[in-house]
Amino acid sequence: MLCENCKKNEANTTLTRNINGHVTVQHLCAECAAKKGLGTMGSVFGSMLCGIFSDFVGTNPAAKCKVCGSTFADFTRTGKAGCPNCYEEFYPQLLPTLQKIHGKTGHVGKAGTVRENAAKTDEPSETEKKADEKPSSARVPTKEDKIEDLKARLAKAVVAQEYEQAAALRDEIKALEKNESV
């Protein structure tokens, strides 16, 4: 995709803006991103994986992991997760990075033990070694299911680079989660 600003270079940065609920998404080349002040983010990414994490411009770097308290900014800075739960917290944001590192985003190898409380995705068989995700529709969906479903759709949207839809899904999830904690 070409940069939407100069229409000359290949776009490699996504700028998502949310102003009073009005979301705009722009795909920019490095040069134009720098002109818009995004270039300064470069100094934050000190890790070896910094180039890989460039996609994270536009996501919320202050989001925290419930278990270890690591923020998404910590993840991008060090290139490393704080605890296993970080992957649950930052799953959608991580998908583009995983795509870059591995060329794939779904596990197809040995099936480990899925714990009850950790197993939020409800697939028909635990040992099924399929990479693609199918949200459950077998029982009456709870709010958790709905959030999980939205998260799965968000993940897909991010992989498909449909950021406009992704941003909307993300807000929807946030609203549901907020409502939940009240």
Binding site: L49, V67, C68, S70, T78, G79, K80, A81, G82, C83, P84, N85, Y87, E88, Y91, L94, T97, L98, I101, H102, G103, K104, T105, G106, H107, V108, G109, K110, A111, G112, T113, V114, R115, A118, A119, T121, E123, E126, K129, A131, E133
Partner: protein, 346 residues
């Protein structure tokens, strides 16, 4: 006591020296080691060790459990020199624990980058066998510890580069001919496109010593263990074929033949040997044995690997029990090498 795997006489492959399988695993609900202080690392390690003892029962006797914080530097780095632990793990010290089988073929690092790193090591090209061993240990420990796993992302690891299978399969290769003819550079380029990486086993970049290389897989997500291993195996077999072809051209060169014979003489008789020289001589020795240059001599193909494994600076210092000067170390190295060379060869 069981013989160490790297001292085995059975290392009979001309090009492949050894195989290593590593599985990265983590405990649930505990931050990764980098976020833990020594106290919390130790608590996590106690959990893993208890799980290990529960899983292995009487077989746990076949292992040593080593508190890395209690080892001195020489002993710790001696483990790294023999590739039983990573140099980073040796460096970190307190909070790290090692479960090491008496024959050194199984090494479980606790609180390296991940909570648990299961390693199975073997001589020659034994990817399937080594994986089967690591896989079995993984199953046994998982029953006790319930490793962090997600259906979408597989085994959860500190670094996203290990997500999925958490598998790193490595093969140590001896490629003196490909190094001499400059084929190695092209090889590194080609295999990197296939998701593998090649690097010097001793020395990096332009300073590769002895033509020893390590090739390993990089991709862990979206590929099964079997496919990752099969792919590596295929690539390694192609490298073996290339190296063997190029050796035919190499060992007819008078200079090379001279070096092969001289190396034998030096290793058998030298009174002082530097680390670099030992690796270089071991490389020529291995080439000579593999290409049947030494007519009338009985030298085991495992000898060169053994003399490298046992003559690293930390290993020598640990053996002598004191800090050594460079001269003392070089003379102890020469003595160790002579002893290995003069052992009854099979």
């Amino acid at each position: 006591m069981k013989e160490k795997w790297y001292n085995e006489a059975g290392a009979n492959e001309p090009v492949v020296i050894s195989t290593r399988i590593r599985l990265a695993r983590n405990l649930c609900d505990i931050p990764f080691p980098q976020l833990l202080d020594v106290k919390h690392k130790t608590e996590a390690a106690e959990k893993v060790i208890a799980g290990f003892k529960g899983a292995f029962g009487e077989r746990a006797e076949e292992f040593d459990i080593i508190d890395m914080g209690k080892l001195n530097g020489e002993a710790a780095f001696s483990l790294a020199e023999r590739r039983l632990v990573s140099p980073e793990f040796a460096e970190a010290g307190a909070g790290g624990f090692l479960i090491l089988s008496k024959d050194h073929s199984i090494s479980i690092m606790i609180n390296e980058e991940d909570h648990v790193r299961i390693q199975a090591l073997a001589s020659g090209l034994q990817l399937e066998n080594a994986y089967a061993i690591a896989d079995e240990i993984d199953d046994m420990l998982d029953k006790q510890l319930g490793f962090a796993y997600d259906k979408r992302l597989g085994y959860l690891t500190e670094c996203p580069t290990n997500l999925g299978t958490g598998l790193r399969a490595s093969v140590m290769l001896h490629l003196p001919a490909m190094l001499a003819f400059g084929t190695v550079g092209r090889l590194a380029e080609t295999v990197s496109r296939l998701g593998f990486t090649v690097r010097g086993a001793y020395g990096e970049g332009s300073d590769i010593k002895g033509g020893f290389f390590q090739i390993s897989n990089q991709i862990t997500l979206g590929i099964s263990e079997k496919n990752a291993i099969d792919n590596l195996s295929t690539v390694v077999r192609q490298i073996i074929a290339t190296e063997e072809e190029e050796r035919k051209r190499l060992i007819v060169q008078p200079e090379v033949l001279d070096k092969i014979w001289r190396s034998l003489g030096i290793l058998r008789t030298a009174r002082m040997l530097s680390g670099d020289e030992a690796i270089e001589m071991a490389s020529y020795l291995r080439l000579g044995v593999a290409c049947s240059v030494y007519k009338g001599e009985k030298i085991d193909l495992g000898a060169p690997g053994k003399l490298i494994a046992l003559t690293g600076p930390a290993t020598l210092a640990a053996k002598s029990g004191k800090k050594l000067t460079v001269a003392e170390r070089d003379s102890l190295r020469a003595e160790t090498v002579r002893n290995i060379m003069n052992e009854k060869q099979t």
